[in-house]
Subunit: 134 residues, 2 copies
């Protein structure tokens, strides 16, 4: 399974870039990028870094996706990243945090209903989201 390739393609689609556009932005040949996206090739760290920069996302993210770097708990990173983002106003920050919390709750609920037969309390027992720290 090549989660990395589909993740890259996902991000590229998200950015509405063509394969060739990303290839040029990343300074990587388009055939190779195509093969990477389909999981036929495993790119080196350097190429991965270039792709990341072409996608305007951090290389670390791609490394995690590639299974090269260990996952630093994604759950907390989103909230802390939002909370620490100085480019947002406080109103915007709290909005994002609320939406994120809502999504989490939504998924939690869905997971719960889907797995009623199999045990309970699947994730954090944290009933309510913390609104905002600091």
């Amino acid at each position: 399974m090549s989660g990395l390739g589909s993740f890259i393609r996902e991000q590229r689609d998200q950015a509405q870039m063509s394969l060739r556009q990303l290839a040029q932005a990343a300074n990587v040949s388009n055939p190779y990028l195509s093969q990477v996206e389909r999981g036929l090739r495993r790119p080196s760290a350097e190429i991965l870094g270039r792709i990341a920069s072409g996608l305007r996302i951090s290389a670390e993210t791609l490394y995690v996706q590639a299974g090269i770097l260990d996952q630093r708990d994604g759950d907390e990173t989103v909230t802390t990243a939002i909370a620490a983002d100085q480019t947002l106003t406080e109103r915007q920050r709290s909005t994002l945090l609320q939406i994120y919390a809502a999504f989490q709750a939504e998924n939690r609920a869905q997971a719960e209903t889907a797995a009623d037969a199999t045990a309970e309390a699947p994730l954090v027992d944290d009933g309510e989201n913390r609104e905002e720290q600091q």
Copy 2:
């Protein structure tokens, strides 16, 4: 150029490990490790990660040393954190990213109008509004 190699050797000496010991701990052949340490070969991300684990240091450190990973950039962390969050569905991810992008654009526009005296400086979005934080 061989900053990475000498760094690895440095760390290995500091840990008082022989080349072969580290090679075994890292699950890498000793000849190859030797070549990496002397800068004759450039290891892939995977090998680098194994070496890092063999040295009991974070892979990130080695990536930075290898010039593959830049140190963390501030405003990109939110997007990357969202993108990497496995607990979200793709739909939720894109929603969050869109909202975040909209906020950024909003702030960018506001900063522009606020700074008419400084003429055009289109690219650098870095200035930011520090109107009310927390």
